[in-house]
């Protein structure tokens, strides 16, 4: 096990270096001149050249790459063209919103997905199984941005139950402490005894979290079902049953524990994917996270911001996958006991 973890860790640095390099060259070689974007169409030649020199864009590509690497190791992606503030500062402010959204989406998807998967596996070929699996198939076939609009149409417009976007009722005076609004609202609940902030934060989370959770929910349900079916066929389950252990105990105590192993990998992978899926969801629900921010940066050709955003999201994705792989080897007795 230790050797596997070491090997996995040793691959981390080259992969991250590759990501950082690829992002640099994709943006450096893309058509369009960052200096032109920054100064607009009216800038004259001298101004453009001065800015290029200032940004190091007049250096040969190799030198630029070296400088870029030096900065990236320190998490310095320069300043956003649009806002003029350091890219990393903006990301730090926005990341909690995305993590919060992805976290709630994942909790929803995991809990419901496992319940649905277990129910359809234990009631195989019944209407519960069929409708769950058809539902899961719809879930992976649906354009999520469309589902988001339909949800808004039903729950916000027709029934006026939930807000259409944002993170907090704008009329509340709310000062963020950690930028995880649910955490902040709980702190305020204890400090001021007013639950309205928590209520509002949770209400704003429902629709975007459900929309974002659709695909992982469907996938987790399918994987849980097939993994559960596989485990339920095994001898030790037969033995447990023939020993007269109650079916509930057999399913939840003995089978589920082993069936969840492949589910862990899926959950990790999906969580990483949510970070990029958030680009669509956040844009629709006006959720002020890194996805929406990155989308606007792409639209505005804000190169430093795009560079920083893509590197940070991909790095997070890689790290989550690494943690999941390591967790898997720790949880899986077949590997752990080797």
């Amino acid at each position: 096990m230790g050797r596997f973890i070491l090997k996995r860790l040793s691959l981390l640095i080259p992969t991250l270096l590759g990501v950082v390099t690829l992002v640099f060259f994709m943006i450096a070689l893309s058509p369009g001149d960052p200096a032109r974007v920054m100064l607009g169409e009216r800038a004259n030649k001298q101004q453009l050249e001065a800015l290029r020199a200032d940004l190091g864009l007049d250096e040969p590509l190799g030198v630029q790459y070296g400088l870029y690497l030096k900065r990236v190791v320190k998490f310095d992606f320069g300043k956003s063209i649009k806002s003029g503030r350091p890219v990393m500062e903006e990301i730090k402010n926005l990341f909690p919103a995305t993590i919060e959204l992805a976290f709630f989406a994942m909790i929803f998807a995991t809990v419901l997905g496992i319940i649905i998967g277990v129910l359809s596996a234990t009631r195989k070929n019944t209407w519960i199984d069929y409708s769950s699996m058809v539902g899961a198939l719809f879930g992976v076939s649906m354009p999520v941005f469309w589902l988001a609009l339909v949800l808004i149409m039903i729950f916000s417009v027709s029934f006026d139950l939930l807000p259409t976007g944002g993170r907090m009722n704008v009329r509340y005076y709310f000062e963020a402490i950690t930028n995880f609004y649910v955490v902040d609202a709980i702190i305020l609940l204890f400090r001021e005894g007013d639950p309205k902030y928590l209520g509002s934060a949770l209400k704003h989370l429902v629709l975007p979290a459900v929309a974002l959770a659709t695909i992982p929910l469907a996938i987790i349900a399918r994987v849980t079902r097939s993994s559960m079916l596989e485990v339920l066929k095994q001898d030790y389950i037969k033995t447990a049953r023939s020993a007269g252990i109650k079916e509930r105990r057999v399913v939840y105590r003995y089978a589920l524990k082993n069936a969840l192993l492949p589910v862990i990998t899926i959950i990790g992978l999906q969580f990483g994917l949510l970070l990029s899926g958030a680009i669509l969801t956040e844009t629709i629900f006006a959720w002020p996270g890194i996805g929406k921010w990155l989308y606007h940066a792409i639209e505005a050709r804000d190169y430093p911001a795009v560079q920083g955003g893509v590197v940070i999201i991909s790095t997070t994705f890689v790290l989550i996958n690494l943690v999941v792989d390591i967790l898997y080897t720790i949880v899986n007795p077949k590997i752990r006991l080797q």
Binding site: P143, I279, I298, V306, S314
Partner: protein
Amino acid sequence: MSENIMPAEKLQETMDKEPGRVQEALHQLRKNKGAIAGLVIIILFLMTALLAPVIAPHDPLEQNISLRKSAPLTEGYILGADDLGRDLLSRIIYGGRISMIIGVVSVGIALVFGILIGVISGYYGGWLDRIVMRLIDIMLAFPYVLLTIVIVAILGPSLTNAMIAIGISQIPQYVRMVRASVLAEKEADYVTAERSLGASDLELMFRSILPNCLAPISVQATLGVGEAILSSAALSFLGLGAQPPTPEWGLMIASSREFITTAWWIVTFPGIATLLAVLGFNLFGDGLRDMLDPKLRD
């Protein structure tokens, strides 16, 4: 693997069974209701795409200002009209054309490069393989949606660039799959036999080995078309794919956003069309997988 060493009579026996495999597959297909449903949906969408000019009741671009935002079932506008008075049904039918083309072309790009890189990398192995796999790992370090968005952002927003971006983003999965099958096949007896008969590397790679790797690829490609349709709709929704007034489903959904309070049909129907088309490919792909993988049969 001991299966590689097969006594001659057993080999003959297996080969005699070969013609039966097609029948077996057809038999499995008939049993698999999901796959049939998927196939029917795919055929329906392909037919409407091909016959769009014949079937569509109106010109998808023709604006009829007096009929702006007409509800479904008014004056020959079965699904209603959009905010510019264009027939929604006709736009959806023509949109199907675009989606089918995007699906097939993107997957085509991914298949050509994926197979080429995968076969060569798996067949030659060594340092070449190591470099290729590292590059693939790096590509896979980018979440899929992000990768397509970044590529389109660099190439510039258009339908063609969206297809290229989706195609490129799908390459890694084919490379991995093809490489794995080639690694499993290349030591097989039939390859050794053909090599000793003087077959060249090229012949071995593409005529002997590749056909035996096609089963998993066909499953992945079918699912890939659905994935590509979804991705292109998402890119167009973000303004990075098809541009107005193209009747593309994602773009239609995007431009309907302002009207969700007043005209539900403009947002609803293009979404249902996308859902159905993707569902068709997913159903058929899942069915194919079940048919080709005996382990999954119950």
